[in-house]
């Protein structure tokens, strides 16, 4: 049984994984870069080891260093979190050959799902619906033209090694086919060192819906229902919810079965996610599989009532799944908002810096997964996501109201954050009515960045607060009657008494 886990990650996910370890009585090992000495995961862990300079390519991404620390600290297993080495098949292989348990699927599953062309082929063979397109490399321009015309415009040209929108081109007009193909090829080469491309039919303003999968090493695979992830900006998820407002019981059952088939096709074990595109007529297509824990896993945990990290550890220990498909029931509604250190009023520019005050929301049905604290300097080297706030309520309307209240309560000062922007989404009719797709943010941008009207008073109050703070500062320089919120009568009394004694 696993008694000690090295968490090869940082930020909120490292802390989140360690929390479960603590509950399970498992010792935790943190690794940290130069920029992360004061990061919360280092303080939270039982042990912590330095692994190098701040850029992740020189620390968190170096397999040798992680393995070395795992051995030195005598860790039984490594949890990779998400990002960094979580979908690196070489890392999974290396763990295996060093006799360390990799908490994740086999390197075969990672590799198969990581190459998008191979993944498409495997899915087609397993009877999983994929976006209409081709399953081979577009290496011949003439043939590519022919193929694209037969699929019919518009199409998406994508990199086989792809991710994060790189090497991806939308083609609407015939004259753009070849130029787009060439730029996608060079971009893909530069980003991934691999210029294999494939092409898919472009699906306009689709929904992005994914299914959570759990599979043990005894052949049991179940799905834990869907997550609706269509609120996106530049292909990055911003808000997720479950159940999806457009889901029906029949569709859930059908897509769930397809998701299980997809996972079984690669002999999957552990927690994973099958992403689908869903068009306005509820046709759905396999998009890709994420062979790791997702950022948005807490909303599934909340409505299904399980701890996914705990399940991952059980599976890694060779245990059978703790629940069967028939036990999986969605209870109520859950929404997650990702809080980014960015400035929505300034084209979402990233905003590292020192956190001054934090007031975290609380109350019924609220969870925050974060890692920043007052006085912490958010480094410029990593992802701008600083926390996630998750609400649960008995139905969607209540959940939206609750998230609205929670975002009002959530205050982070010192840096700019996306909290107010997210708050506007909770007021946006399309979101409130559950009528949105991946085009949501673009369509509603004017509404979302419009400033709240401030009554005259809130400006005046701001001026007064700044003025008093300034006076407070001057008073401190010249000690006299200071501005204080509570005159300490006892102190005064004590002083007077002291005087009397004299």
């Amino acid at each position: 049984m696993i008694g000690k886990i090295l968490v090869a990650n940082r930020g909120e996910i490292a802390v989140r994984v360690m929390r479960t370890c603590k509950e399970l009585g498992i010792k935790t090992v943190a690794v940290y870069s130069e920029a992360d000495r004061t990061s919360l995961h280092v303080r939270y862990a039982d042990e912590a080891y330095f692994i190098g300079p701040s850029p992740s390519a020189e620390s968190y991404l170096i397999i040798d260093k992680i393995i070395d620390i795992a051995k030195r600290s005598d860790a039984d297993a490594i949890h990779p979190g998400y990002g960094f080495l979580s979908e690196n098949s070489d890392f999974a292989d290396r763990c295996k050959s060093e006799g360390i348990i990799f908490i994740g699927p086999s390197s075969h599953a990672i590799k198969t799902m990581g190459d998008k062309i191979t993944a498409r082929k495997t899915m087609v063979k397993a009877g999983v619906k994929v976006v209409p397109g081709i399953n081979k490399n577009l290496d011949n321009e003439e043939k590519a033209l022919e193929i694209i015309k037969s699929i019919g415009l518009p199409v998406m040209i994508k990199a086989a090694a792809g991710g994060g929108g790189k090497g991806m081109r939308l083609v609407k007009n015939e004259k753009d086919i070849l130029p787009s193909l060439r730029t996608a090829k060079s971009e893909s080469k530069a980003a991934f060192g691999n210029d294999d491309l494939y092409v898919e039919k472009y699906i306009e303003s689709p929904h992005h819906i994914e299914f959570q999968i759990l599979a043990d090493k005894h052949g049991n695979t179940i799905h834990l229902c869907e997550r609706e992830c269509s609120v996106q900006r530049r292909h990055q998820k911003v808000i997720e919810e479950t159940p999806s407002p457009i889901m029906t019981a029949e569709l859930r059952d059908e897509m769930g079965k397809q998701a299980i088939a997809a996972a079984k096709a690669v002999n999957y074990s552990g927690a994973g996610t099958i992403e689908f595109l869903v068009d306005k007529d509820l046709n759905y297509y396999f998009l890709e599989m994420n062979t790791r824990l997702q950022v948005e896993h807490p909303i599934t945990e909340r409505v299904i009532g399980i701890d996914l990290v705990s399940e991952q550890i059980n599976i890694a220990n060779g245990l059978k799944l703790s629940l069967k498909q028939k036990d999986v029931v969605q209870n109520g509604h859950s929404i997650e908002c990702r809080i980014y250190a960015e400035d929505p009023e300034n084209n979402f520019m990233p905003c590292p810096g020192i956190v001054r005050n934090i007031t975290e929301p609380s109350g019924l049905g609220v969870r925050t997964d974060g890692y920043v604290y007052e006085g912490y300097e958010i480094p410029m080297d990593y992802d701008p996501m600083i926390s996630k706030v998750i609400v649960w309520a008995k139905d969607r309307a209540e959940a939206v109201n609750r998230m609205n209240r929670v975002l009002d309560e959530y205050k982070i000062t010192g840096i700019k954050t996306s909290i107010n922007f997210l708050n506007k989404i909770m007021d946006c009719p399309d979101f409130v009515n559950g009528k949105y797709d991946t085009g949501f943010i673009e369509k509603n941008m004017d509404f979302l960045i419009e400033k709240e009207v401030c009554d005259k008073n809130c400006e005046e109050m701001s001026i007064i607060a700044a003025f008093l703070e300034y006076n407070y500062y001057l008073d401190k320089l010249v000690p006299q009657t200071t501005f204080s919120n509570n005159k300490n009568k006892w102190k005064e009394f004590g002083r007077r008494k002291g005087l009397m004694k004299l």
Binding site: A341, D381, E452, E469
Partner: protein, 169 residues
């Protein structure tokens, strides 16, 4: 004694009339406000006015005269303009370097690429420098047409927020 305060570059005058414990009386322009103010923690003010409750955070910027003030939905840049500031502004008026067109890093980051050279002409809207922070690259452009006078950084440098990167005249 009244003071000038600028809120997002709009100027107002403010004067403290009376202060007794939490009770504060101030005059802004010609309007008098009677308030109950409590400083609850570092920089957080609770202000009660006509029964309404305001929760305001005041964050000190580069010195005790510059603040970022956040209300429930708004964020303001507030500067206290005292006699000293007024004098300084007057003094520097003549030798100001037309600072508006200087490119300043708005956040800490790493210089990825510098696309201009000292002495070269630059058009309004032309990208001069690319900075990367938190896995995102941002382009910074010249606000007006001009000549690149000085480049204070080189590619690969790590810079603090607020640093003057490229001076354009």
């Amino acid at each position: 004694m009244s003071l000038e305060i600028s809120l997002d570059n709009r100027k107002k005058t403010i004067e403290l009339i009376e202060q007794d414990g939490n009770k504060v009386k101030v005059l802004i322009g010609k309007t008098e406000y009677e308030l109950n103010v409590a400083k609850t923690s570092n920089g957080i003010y609770s202000i009660l006015h006509d029964g309404k409750s305001y929760n305001i955070s005041v964050i000190r910027e580069k010195n005790h005269k510059n603040y970022i003030v956040n209300t429930a939905a708004h964020s303001y840049k507030i500067e206290i303009i005292d006699a000293e500031t007024k004098f300084q502004k007057l003094k520097h008026k003549d030798d100001s370097d037309n600072g508006d067109n200087t490119i300043v890093s708005p956040m800490p980051g790493k210089i990825v690429k510098i696309l201009v050279k000292e002495g070269q002409k630059i058009e309004a809207g032309e990208t001069a420098i690319i900075i990367s922070a938190m896995k995102m690259e941002s382009e910074f452009k010249a606000k007006r047409k001009g000549v690149v006078l000085k480049i204070n950084v080189k590619e690969g440098d790590i810079v603090e927020g607020g640093k003057k990167l490229i001076v354009i005249k």
